[in-house]
């Protein structure tokens, strides 16, 4: 479902980074491990179509991302991906519910209250539905961010350091929720991290 071939990327005035070819099956859960600077965020962004690759090909669900135009890539992201970052990047001007509904709105999909409730329920933050983002704790905010990422039932979930900012207890809960959310939505999950705690949960490792 995700396949890369001879993928390389070079930042301006820096050495080119070579990535080993990837072949990830649908529903697989993979950990991209590496120290900071090893290029795991770059790879994740390349896979997510957030960064245009310079060489090689990236095939996701049968589409070669490198051949898509900017606006085609926007639409593709909306339909197939859910992103989770180290910081939750929730929109503070909006409520929890509005933040979640941004996902189908921006992807051009139907906006469903039931789906919002279902996802929040599953992630245990249903009582925060009408809250403002400022009123959430760090763990709650990260769970809302996960809810937003899985709301459209994406086929690929990409997470960049989702647990690095959390203490052990929250790391445990958030990673469990992330895994179960991915399973429940039948999404392929790729987590880029240097957080060794996650090795206990995901055994499919790619070391960069």
């Amino acid at each position: 479902m995700i396949r890369t071939q001879s993928l390389t990327y070079a930042y301006p005035a820096e050495k080119e980074i070579f990535f080993n070819d990837l072949d990830v099956a649908s529903g697989e859960q993979i950990l991209l491990l590496g120290e900071s600077g090893s290029g795991k965020t770059t790879l994740l962004h390349l896979l997510g179509g957030l960064l245009k690759s310079q060489h090689g090909s990236i095939e996701v669900n049968g589409t070669d991302l490198t051949k898509l135009s900017e606006s085609e890539l926007d639409r593709f992201r909306g339909k197939h991906y859910g992103f989770i970052f180290q910081r939750n990047h929730l929109m503070t001007a909006l409520t929890v519910e509005q933040n979640l509904l941004m996902a189908p709105f921006l992807a051009g999909l139907r906006q469903s209250q039931e789906r919002v409730e279902e996802v929040l329920e599953h992630l245990g933050v249903i009582e925060k539905r009408k809250s403002r983002i400022q009123d959430l704790s760090l763990g709650q905010a990260q769970r809302v961010a996960i809810a937003r990422a899985v709301l459209n039932k994406p086929s690929v979930l990409l997470a960049d350091e989702p647990t690095s900012a959390l203490d052990d207890k929250n790391c445990d809960r958030v990673s469990d929720l992330l895994l179960s959310a991915a399973l429940q939505n039948q999404a392929t999950l790729i987590i880029a991290t240097h957080d060794q705690r996650l090795k206990r949960k995901i055994h499919n490792l790619i070391q960069l």
Binding site: T41, H45, D74, F83, R87, A93, L101, L106
Partner: protein, 412 residues
Amino acid sequence: MNLIKLVYGYLRSRPLNTLLNILLLALGIAMITILLLFNKQLKQKISDNTKGIDLVVGAKGSPLQLILCNIFHIDFPTGNIKLTAADQLAKHRLVKNAIPMALGDSYQNFRIVGTNHAYAELYKAELAAGAWWSADFEVVIGSSVAESLSLILGSTFESAHGLSTDGHAHEESPFIVKGILKRTNSVLDNLILTNVSSIWKVHEEPGEGPRAGDSTHHTSVLVPSVSLSDSTREITSLLMKYRNPIAAIQLPRYINTQTNMQAASPSFEAARLFSILGVGMDALTAFAYVLIFISALSIFLALYNSLKERKYDLAIMRSMGASRLKLVMATQLEGVTLTVMGSLFGIGLGHGVLYLFSVWVEESQKAGISAAVFYPEEGYLLAGSFVLGILCSLIPSFQAYRTDIHKILAGN
């Protein structure tokens, strides 16, 4: 979720900033609205009130004062002219008709004008009740006079000497209300009309009076009750209409050089008055535009800064499938919402202030300035503020367009 809710969320997340920007623009727009309403209505009133009057002839002095006093009834008379001299002018071959005006008395700040029925016809006045005056001391009052003084048919009152309330009362000769006019939206609404001889009689010392039997052959054209040879009678002015266009060239020059009276053209003096007022209006308009410019700058800065704070929002929105165009539209919508709201609020504020002005300031009531009038220019103001919103958000929306998602999202 939609763009409007998103923009509303953003505006509400910075309430003070949003309020300040809307208020600042509203102030500028309100000023322009007030000036627009004031200017337009004043011009309209002036042209309505001078309709049918080509020339005003009165005692020498300021021509503007002559016009203000005899047409708009806001300044004091320049003096009196002899009825005999006025009569001669009225019979001039270039004069189509002439209306005598005798001013000097008032009742509760409303002026009493000694004239003839032709004066009321100038403004196409119709009676709402009663009849026209036919004898001395009978008056017909304007609708505003009737309203504010609660006068009805048959009411009597004593006039005061002078044009303000503190003049001494002429207690011995009461006026009686014979007729009440329908509203004309002209100066007539604020006037008390009677015949010329009533004004004279009010001011006569006991014993003095028309010298009966002086001459019964010829009577005055302007005031038929008076003998032509009676050289003691005076009036304040004559309102004239030309017989033909040549009169416009010859008559004023003849009067100003060959007689000891002066002639003034209402349209010319009104234009002169406007050019004097115009300087002040221009200054105020310029100030209003400065306010609008500053508010535009403030809106631009607010958008520019908030877009910096929102770079993560923009990047995350792109990651969720938003196109560049959608981000541009959201930014533009935010700018346009601010300016259009400011402008709507400003137009409302302008009308509101003018309404309070018309309620509290008596002079504006007399001038007939109304707040409940809308002009197409206010539509232009709205359209202009829409364009202003787009201009203010041009650079910020370009920023949004250029959002580098990878750089922002990788920069933890």
